[in-house]
């Protein structure tokens, strides 16, 4: 097993409890949704790393983004073989979310396609996959399903809920819906509500899927998959995750495997080849219906919903906040996080904020682990210390 830590005395056994592999929490009573509809049966797939301490002060919930899954850190994949995690630069032994110190939980979202109940699941009333008869789910619905997982695990309070992008939306919704269960909320490259530009790009992706003849109104189970539509959606998405600067550095106007223009409609620029590859790779692991439901949940998300304003939505509780953005992220731009920051400041809340300079656009939350660590590590260590002081396990946190 490879680990990225520099502690030579570390053997990788006692100090690092093994990752769990996929586990399942069943919501026996089903789940009431924000739309007013109800799912009578919900399974949530989750994974955990590390161990919950005796006072229950070290549980961290990581929420995944649009196309992620519960496999946030390296550990056994669905077939038992070790598989890298989607955020293993941040979560693992010796990493920012050190799995030797923290009990890390990550759930596949409601509506997802990696084990949790979603449009690809069997509708118990018909015995057939839901497809588009699956009710629209919101970010808040996803959070409610995750709360049930915490109950399954016996975790009363999280020392931190963290997420980037759509995962960050879930983290914010956690602070709104369950302030008493969240000590700190770490929102990275996220927003209290999407702007028109981001909704517009989501809609292009959805239309590409809906227009694919293989989509068949979402009823493509066991038939040819709407691969082309889903791949185009991914290609569009990928452009929005990068920046002008990162694309210029990565591709420029270079041609792929040729010296001259083809004067034909073939893949010839490196950027075209890259996007085509990303699209092809994506359809092997993701479901078109889930893409529709997830992007819709993103578009609908408004942290203020159910309240008069974001400030009112976050008025309850004493959650401590850490908000991080990236300078070149134009999909979840800094000014939107600053709107959230202002709402929290208006309430006199404990909120910290920093903008990380980065050329990587929205993808920076996956590509800038050290800059995130700089802020998150001391913030989180202090939060755990304070939690332990409250639990009577420590005397004080000052000037250790």
């Amino acid at each position: 097993m490879t680990t990225q830590n520099d502690d030579s005395s570390y053997t990788g056994t006692a100090a690092e409890p093994p990752a769990s592999g996929r586990q399942r929490c069943t919501l026996e009573d089903g789940l009431d949704l924000m739309s007013g509809k109800r799912l009578s049966h919900v399974d949530v797939t989750y994974e955990t790393w590390g161990e919950l301490d005796e006072h229950g002060t070290n549980a961290v919930l990581v929420c995944h983004a649009l196309t992620g899954d519960s496999h946030v850190a390296t550990g056994p994949g669905p077939n038992g073989a070790e598989k890298p995690g989607w955020w293993d630069v941040m979560v693992g032994p010796g990493m920012t979310f050190d799995t030797r110190k923290y009990f890390v939980i990550c759930c596949n979202v409601l509506g997802g396609c990696s084990g949790t109940t979603g449009p690809g699941s069997i509708d118990p009333h018909t015995g057939l996959p839901y497809g588009l008869t699956f009710p629209l789910v919101t970010i808040e619905d996803m959070v409610n399903a995750q709360a049930a997982v915490l109950d399954c695990l016996g975790v009363e309070k999280l020392v931190a809920v963290v997420g980037g992008s759509v995962g960050g939306m879930q983290a914010l919704a956690w602070a709104k819906l369950y302030p008493e269960r969240v000590r700190t909320c770490i929102g990275v490259a996220t927003t209290p509500r999407l702007g028109a530009q981001a909704i517009g790009f989501n809609e292009v992706g959805r239309q590409a899927i809906l227009a694919d003849p293989n989509f068949r109104g979402g009823d493509y189970d066991g038939k040819a998959q709407p691969e082309q539509g889903l791949a185009i959606a991914r290609m569009v998405g990928h452009i929005t995750y990068l920046s002008d600067e990162s694309m210029r550095a990565k591709f420029g106007r270079r041609l792929q495997d040729r010296a001259y223009h083809a004067f034909d409609f073939v893949t010839e620029f490196e950027v075209e080849s890259y996007l085509a590859y990303q699209g092809r790779k994506f359809v092997d692991r993701f479901d078109a219906n889930t893409y529709l439901y997830m992007t819709k949940a993103m578009d609908y998300f408004d942290l203020a919903s159910g309240f008069g304003s974001v400030a009112e939505a976050l008025a309850a509780g004493d959650v401590r906040w850490l908000l991080l953005t990236f300078s070149s992220d134009w999909l979840f731009p800094t000014y939107q996080t600053k709107g959230l920051l202002d709402a929290l400041r208006a309430n006199g809340k404990e909120v910290s904020f920093a903008e990380i300079p980065s050329p990587y656009g929205h993808d920076a939350f996956l590509l800038e682990p050290e800059e995130q660590r700089r802020y998150i590590e001391p913030f989180l260590e202090r939060a755990v210390c304070e939690a332990r002081c409250e639990a009577g396990a420590l005397e004080g946190c000052d000037e250790q």
């Binding site: 850490l322 909120v351 910290s352 904020f353 802020y375 202090r382 946190c397 000052d398």
Partner: protein, 210 residues
């Protein structure tokens, strides 16, 4: 040595000027030494603003809430009167727009506490007068070409500056450091000549004393 011992001498004076239990905003809070002390020793509800990432990280490790912002853009996002005390320590001389910073302090805070090096100090005057060169001293230790201090002021200038920006000086404490950073004493005579640094408590003009 405790954190309090490490605090700069002028910060100790600032601490003594902050009433217990105040809501305090520290502009350019660095690693948060001052506000951590105010929180732990005087029960204050504290917040910080800082630009430098490594300083913010250090403050986060102390459990402080710090927002990364450029003071030259003002204090947008903080409601009027959100704080009892806003501190600006040894920073006004590096601001591009000190008037905006002062007006914003008076807007979001009931009181402002400003500490600044006094360019009217006799050593500074003598340096320029007798050496004919831009002054470099212990409280202003930079050459003209690489100094972050772009807006020097004297005590007299500062009084005018506060008045011209809607404020009034409630208290002015001219200070002279014996051995800088070790001991500090108040200057009683000819402050603009004898003080090398000053602490001023300011409030909005017309605001009632509490």
């Amino acid at each position: 040595m405790t954190a309090a011992d490490l605090l700069r001498a002028d910060l100790k004076l600032v601490i003594s000027l902050v009433p217990e239990g105040s809501r305090v905003l520290d502009l350019g809070c660095g690693d948060g030494s001052l506000i951590a002390h105010l929180r732990d020793e005087r029960g204050c509800n504290v917040r910080g603003i800082e630009l430098a990432p490594e300083e913010i990280a250090a403050a986060l490790g102390r459990g402080l809430s710090v927002v990364q912002a450029d003071l030259d853009e003002g204090l947008v996002g903080y409601p009027d009167g959100a704080f009892d005390v806003v501190v600006l320590s040894q920073t006004i001389q590096v601001m591009r727009n000190p008037a905006l910073v002062l007006r914003e302090m008076l807007r979001v805070g009931e009181r402002g506490i400003v500490t600044f090096p006094n360019f009217g100090h006799w050593r500074v005057r003598g340096y320029l007068a007798f050496r004919g060169r831009m002054p470099v001293s212990e409280s202003i230790p930079f050459s003209w070409y690489d100094t972050p201090n772009i807006h020097h002021t004297t005590l007299k200038d500062f009084r005018e500056f506060v008045s011209a920006n809607g404020g009034q000086i409630e208290r002015e404490i001219p200070l002279s450091a014996g051995e800088w950073r070790r001991e500090i004493r108040e200057v009683r005579f000819w402050p603009n000549l004898l003080a090398d640094t000053a602490v001023a408590v300011v409030r909005a003009k017309g605001a009632a004393r509490v």
